[in-house]
């Protein structure tokens, strides 16, 4: 290819432009969970779909997006108190740990984002986003508390019943959908607080995919 023919890179799977700002695991679960690995995607150097994808001019854009998600998650969990108490170098360490695949470096900072006051039973609200390919809306995100007024821990099932009831409504036999996080289907009875502490993505959000049951 000639240099002048090359413009911004973008990725696509079966006609769907891939959103670089979504975690790769989420994209796979949502779009290709039944595919065998390695996941084959198409790389493009022309025809950037301006109406579908955010521009990613540099690595700084990715860092800025990651940090903005981390900050939003902390706004939900701790009214931003924990993230704001940290120094700029701690924020940098969080990003560098992720960027360089150094878990210990990442977790040294992230573990503070997973704590909550001793007098509470969990975070203020749970950072989550629920994705379905069947809706125009890219994801569902609402305020949801990990603990009920009676002190009982809310479960994954409670969350779904509240924010997208159509997913698990049918009591007559099989569910039409799988509820997937990181490629697995957690039991609906799992406490949401536990999921948030242990199954969040590096941006501190629970990214949940609702996909049709495989037909094999």
């Amino acid at each position: 290819m000639r240099q002048e023919d090359i413009s911004e890179i973008w990725f696509e799977h079966e006609g769907t432009p891939l959103k670089w700002h979504y975690p790769i695991g989420l994209l796979f679960d949502l779009l290709a969970s039944s595919s065998a690995l390695p996941w084959n995607i198409t790389v493009h150097f022309k025809g950037f779909p301006e109406k579908d994808l955010l521009h990613c001019p540099s690595k700084d854009t990715i860092e800025a997006h990651f940090m903005s998600c981390v900050k939003e998650a902390d706004a939900l969990k701790h009214k931003s108190q924990v993230i704001n108490e940290m120094q700029k170098k701690d924020h940098k360490q969080l990003w560098m740990g992720l960027h360089n695949d150094r878990f210990d470096q990442f977790w040294a900072i992230n573990r503070k984002l997973m704590e909550y006051p001793a007098e509470e039973s969990g975070f203020r609200y749970i950072p989550f986003r629920i994705y379905q390919t069947t809706t125009e809306r890219p994801f569902i995100q609402k305020l949801f508390r990990p603990v009920a007024t009676d002190g009982q821990l809310h479960t994954l099932g409670d969350l779904l019943k509240e924010v997208c009831p159509s997913v698990i409504a049918p009591e007559d036999g099989e569910r039409k959908n799988q509820v997937m996080i990181h490629g697995i289907e957690p039991m609906l009875e799992t406490p949401l607080q536990w999921l948030s502490e242990h199954l969040s993505y590096p941006d501190n959000f629970l990214h949940i995919s609702i996909i049709p049951q495989p037909t094999d």
Partner: protein
């Protein structure tokens, strides 16, 4: 809801309804849009601008009719549909869209915006900035706004520019304190 929270979503929707009522009274073109699969929604306003800076807005009409009226005003003669498209391309009409959404994470309204040519080609932030009048540029640069970044619109899923709500806190507190005093 705790007292230190600024708005709940219901309160946001209530104030939007008031805002839109007022907008209708003065012909300012704001409307309410709901998402198909959910009860939430946002305020939306579209306006068209010829690149030389003349702002024309005809609220309550469809986008196409707005374009025709715009062209007729600019060129001072009635046009049929094909001439409108040609004329529009030649004189570079830009469509600006403003959406005011509610952020449940920060519990404040957030401004999303984008601009495009009539053929759908989007403008970059640099292009949009170039279209801002000099006197506004200074004010915006000094204002309480943190940054403008490109983000995915949470209801439409398309790229928009967003005024970051980080400093909305600092900006809104004195506004709310005063409004409570005056009991508006």
């Amino acid at each position: 809801m705790e007292e230190d929270e600024f708005f709940g979503e219901k309160t946001f929707q209530h104030y939007c309804a008031e805002f839109i009522k007022h907008s209708q009274q003065i012909g300012d073109g704001w409307e309410w849009r709901t998402s198909k699969d959910c009860s939430d929604g946002y305020m939306c306003k579209i306006h068209f601008q010829i690149k030389n800076g003349t702002v024309v807005s005809h609220p309550g009409t469809s986008a196409h009719v707005q374009t025709c009226l715009l062209m007729e005003e600019a060129l001072e003669l009635p046009l049929d549909d094909s001439e409108v498209t040609e004329a529009a391309a030649a004189t570079e009409v830009i469509k600006y869209e403003y959406h005011v959404l509610y952020s449940c994470s920060y519990q404040v309204p957030v401004l999303y915006f984008r601009a495009s040519f009539l053929d759908g080609r989007p403008l970059s932030l640099k292009d949009i900035w170039e279209g801002v009048h000099e006197c506004y540029k200074m004010r915006l640069q000094q204002g309480p706004w943190d940054t403008i970044t490109q983000q995915e619109h949470p209801i439409l899923g398309q790229p928009f520019f967003v005024l970051h709500p980080c400093k909305t806190n600092e900006f809104m507190t004195p506004v709310l304190k005063n409004s409570r005093k005056i009991n508006r």
